[in-house]
C-alpha cells in the first residue's frame, strides 16, 4: 500500500481519449487543412482531435491523488459471442441467404449466456428464424433472398 492513490479507471479513460485523439489527428493530417477562412476537410477534425487529446490529458492528470472504483468484472464470454453475431449476419446474409444466416446468428448470440443449454438454444434459434422469415420475408416482402447462391438450391 505504498503507492499513492490513483483512480485507475480515469487513468485508462484519459489514456484512451488521448490515444483516440492522436489517431484521429494523425488521420486528419493526411487531409487538406485549408485556412480558418477557407477550411479544408482536415481543419475541423484536427481542431477536435487536439481538443480530445487535451481533455484526455486533464482526465489523466486528475486521476492521480484520489481513489476510484475498480473496473469490475469483464464480460469476456459475452463479447466472444455477442459481437460476432451481427458480423456473421453481415457476412453471410447475401451468400447463404436470410434464413440460414439468421439461424446461425441467433445460435451464436445465444451462446453468450452460461445459462443457455444447447437444446433450448437450438429451439430458440429455430423459432426466431421461422417467425422472422414469416414476418419480414413473407409478411413485409423485404427484398432478402431466403436461401442464397452459396447453397445449391
Amino acid at each position: 500500500m505504498s503507492t499513492p492513490p490513483r483512480d485507475n479507471t480515469d487513468l485508462i479513460a484519459g489514456l484512451f481519449l488521448m490515444a483516440t485523439g492522436v489517431f484521429f489527428g494523425w488521420q486528419a493530417l493526411g487531409l487538406e487543412l485549408g485556412t480558418s477562412l477557407r477550411m479544408g476537410p482536415g481543419y475541423f477534425p484536427l481542431v477536435l482531435s487536439a481538443l480530445l487529446v487535451v481533455i484526455g490529458l486533464v482526465v489523466l492528470i486528475k486521476a492521480f491523488g484520489r481513489e476510484g472504483e475498480p473496473l469490475g468484472q469483464i464480460a469476456w464470454r459475452g463479447m466472444m459471442f455477442i459481437l460476432p453475431a451481427p458480423v456473421f449476419f453481415g457476412l453471410t446474409v447475401r451468400g447463404l441467404g436470410f434464413v440460414p444466416a439468421l439461424f446461425v446468428t441467433t445460435l451464436i448470440a445465444s451462446q453468450a449466456s452460461v445459462r443457455m443449454r444447447p437444446l433450448p438454444a437450438l429451439a430458440l434459434s429455430v423459432a426466431v428464424t421461422i417467425l422472422a422469415t414469416l414476418v419480414f420475408s413473407y409478411g413485409l416482402g423485404l427484398p432478402f433472398r431466403r436461401f442464397g447462391p452459396w447453397l445449391p438450391f
Binding site: D10, F44, L48, L52, E69, P86, G90, L102, F136, L140
Partner: protein, 502 residues
C-alpha cells in the same frame, strides 16, 4: 373562420371509415414493427412504405403518418424496456426510462411516454393547423450561420450543465463529433476516417452506432456476472401513474411540448436537439436533479413530449415547402411523388382536402396511439419477465435484421459490433454514451454549416454576430455558460448525462 372550416374539411376526410381504418392499421403496424429492437422509425417506414402504394393518395399518406407515430412510440418502448433506442430522439428517453424499468416502474415510464406524446401531439397539431404558413417564413430565415449558432447552443447546453464528470462528458461529445465526421467531406469529396472502406463513404449509420453504444453495451454489462445479478426487478409496480406522478409530469410535458414545437419547424435538423434540450431544461429546473439518470419521471415526460411535438411540427416544412426535415420526411416526399402529388407550397391551396386531411389525421393518429398503447403497456411489461438469456439472442437477431434493412449494407452490421465493443469499453471507463450520441448527430451539421457560412460570407467570421438570429443564439449560449459560473447555480448543477450502471 377559415381555420374552423378547414379543420372541418380535414376531419371530414380523415374520419371516413376507410381512412380511419388505414390510420388504425398504420398505427398498429408501426407500433409492432417499431417495437422490435434496433428498428427505428426510419427503418419501419422504409419497410412498410410499399404497402401504402396501392392506396388513394390521401389514404396512403394518412396510413404513413399512422405508421410514423406508431413507429416513434414503438421506438420509445424499446428504449425504455431494453435500452435500445432506434432514433436519436429516443436515445434521451432511454437514459431515465430504462432506469425506471429496472426499478420496476416500466409501466409508469411507458404510460408517461404515451400521455406526454399524446398531449404534445395534440398541441403541435393545432400549431400546424394555425401557423403552418407563417412558421415556414421563420424557418427560411435560418441560414448556415444561424444553424451553426443553434448547434453551438445545443452543445453548450448539454455540456455546461454537467458536473463532476463534466470533463469526460465533454470528451464524449468531442469523440461523438469526430465519429460524426466519418464519411465523404461534402465540400471537397475527400473521404475522411473511412479506412478506405467505400461503404462508410456516406458516414456511419446512426442506428448502428446507437444500437451498439446503448443496446449491445448494455447486454454485455448484463452478461458480466450472471449468477448473482438480476437485470430487472421481478416485482413490477402499478402500470399506471399515480395522481402525484401525473401532477409531476404536467410541467415537463408543457415545457417539452413548447421546446419540441419550436425546434421541429427548422428543416436543418433542429428537431434533433428537441429531446436533448428538454432533458437539459428539466434537469436544470428540477428540485431533485440528482434523480436524473436514476429514473427521473421528468426525464421521460419532457423529452418524449418534445420529441413528439417536434415530429409533428416537422411536417410544417414538408407540407408547406415540400422540404424534408429528416430522413423520415424524405421518405414521405417520395411517397407523395409516387402518388402523383408534387410537394410544395401549392399543396395547401390546390389540394386542401389532402393537406387538412393529413393535419386532422395527425391528431386522430395520436389519439389511436394512446388508446391502443395504454392497454398494451401491460403486455410490453410482461416481456420483461422473459428470462434475459432468452431475450438477448432475440434482440441480437432483430437488431441484425433491422440494421441491415436500412441500406442492405453489411458494413453497418460490422459497425454494430464495433460500437458495441466501444460502448462497453466506455461504460467500463464510466463514460456515458448519451453525450457521444449527441455529438455524433450534431458533428456533421456543425461543421457543414460552419464551413458553408464561412464560404457564403467570403471568409468573414463576423457573419455569426452580424446576423441577428445567429447573434441571439450565440448570446443565449453565453448566457447559459455564465449561469453555470454563478455560484448559487453551480450548487445545483449536476451531471446531465449521468447514467451510472450501479
Amino acid at each position: 373562420m377559415d381555420l374552423l372550416s378547414n379543420l372541418a374539411l380535414g376531419f371530414g376526410v380523415a374520419t371516413s371509415l376507410a381512412n380511419l381504418a388505414f390510420c388504425l392499421i398504420g398505427v398498429i403496424l408501426g407500433t409492432l414493427i417499431g417495437v422490435l429492437p434496433g428498428i427505428g422509425a426510419t427503418a419501419t417506414i422504409a419497410m412498410l412504405l410499399p404497402i401504402t402504394f396501392q392506396l388513394e393518395p390521401v389514404s396512403s399518406l394518412i396510413m404513413l403518418a399512422g405508421i410514423y407515430y406508431g413507429a416513434q412510440y414503438g421506438g420509445s418502448t424499446t428504449a425504455i424496456l431494453i435500452n435500445m433506442p432506434g432514433e436519436s430522439s429516443s436515445a434521451v428517453t432511454a437514459i431515465d426510462g430504462y432506469q425506471m424499468a429496472r426499478k420496476g416502474r416500466a409501466g409508469t415510464a411507458l404510460a408517461t411516454a404515451a400521455i406526454g406524446s399524446f398531449f404534445a401531439g395534440t398541441v403541435a397539431t393545432f400549431l400546424v393547423a394555425i401557423f403552418a404558413p407563417p412558421l415556414t417564413a421563420v424557418a427560411l430565415k435560418f441560414g448556415a450561420a444561424e444553424y451553426f449558432s443553434l448547434m453551438v447552443m445545443g452543445l453548450v447546453m448539454s455540456v455546461a450543465l454537467a458536473h463532476g464528470s463534466v470533463l469526460k462528458a465533454l470528451g464524449m461529445v468531442v469523440l461523438g463529433l469526430l465519429l460524426g465526421l466519418v464519411g465523404t467531406d461534402i465540400y471537397t469529396g475527400a473521404p475522411r476516417f473511412t479506412m478506405g472502406i467505400t461503404q462508410f463513404s456516406d458516414g456511419l449509420n446512426f442506428v448502428a452506432v446507437a444500437v451498439g453504444v446503448f443496446g449491445i453495451a448494455e447486454i454485455l454489462r448484463n452478461l458480466e456476472d450472471e449468477h448473482d445479478r438480476e437485470v430487472m426487478t421481478r416485482t413490477i409496480n402499478r402500470l399506471f401513474p399515480t395522481r402525484e406522478e401525473l401532477r409531476a409530469m404536467i410541467g415537463p410535458i408543457l415545457r417539452g411540448t413548447g421546446i419540441g414545437s419550436v425546434l421541429g419547424i427548422l428543416p436543418g435538423g433542429g428537431a434533433i436537439l428537441a429531446s436533448f434540450a428538454s432533458y437539459t431544461v428539466e434537469k436544470k429546473l428540477s428540485r431533485t436533479p440528482e434523480e436524473f439518470g436514476h429514473g427521473a419521471l421528468a426525464g421521460v415526460a419532457g423529452p418524449e413530449s418534445a420529441n413528439n411535438a417536434g415530429a409533428q411540427t416537422s411536417f410544417i416544412p414538408l407540407l408547406t415547402l415540400g422540404i424534408p426535415a429528416n430522413p423520415v420526411m424524405a421518405l414521405m416526399i417520395g411517397a407523395m411523388i409516387i402518388q402523383g402529388i408534387v410537394p410544395g407550397p401549392n399543396v395547401v391551396t390546390e389540394q386542401p382536402e389532402l393537406f387538412w386531411g393529413i393535419v386532422a389525421s395527425m391528431w386522430i393518429g395520436n389519439l389511436m396511439l394512446v388508446v391502443l398503447n395504454l392497454p398494451l403497456i401491460g403486455l410490453w411489461v410482461k416481456l420483461l419477465t422473459v428470462p434475459y438469456f432468452v431475450l438477448f439472442p432475440i434482440i441480437m437477431a432483430m437488431c441484425s435484421i433491422g440494421v441491415y434493412s436500412v441500406a442492405s449494407n453489411p458494413y453497418d452490421l460490422f459497425a454494430v459490433a464495433f460500437f458495441g465493443l466501444l460502448g462497453y469499453v466506455l461504460s467500463k471507463l464510466r463514460c456515458e454514451p448519451a453525450p457521444l450520441l449527441l455529438g455524433f448527430v450534431l458533428g456533421p451539421l456543425l461543421e457543414e454549416n460552419l464551413r458553408r457560412a464561412m464560404i457564403l460570407s467570403r471568409g468573414d467570421p463576423t457573419t455569426f454576430v452580424t446576423r441577428p438570429i445567429s447573434l441571439g443564439l450565440l448570446l443565449a449560449s453565453l448566457a447559459v455558460l455564465a449561469l453555470v459560473f454563478l455560484p448559487q447555480i453551480r450548487k445545483r448543477r449536476d451531471e446531465v448525462f449521468t447514467e451510472t450502471d450501479a
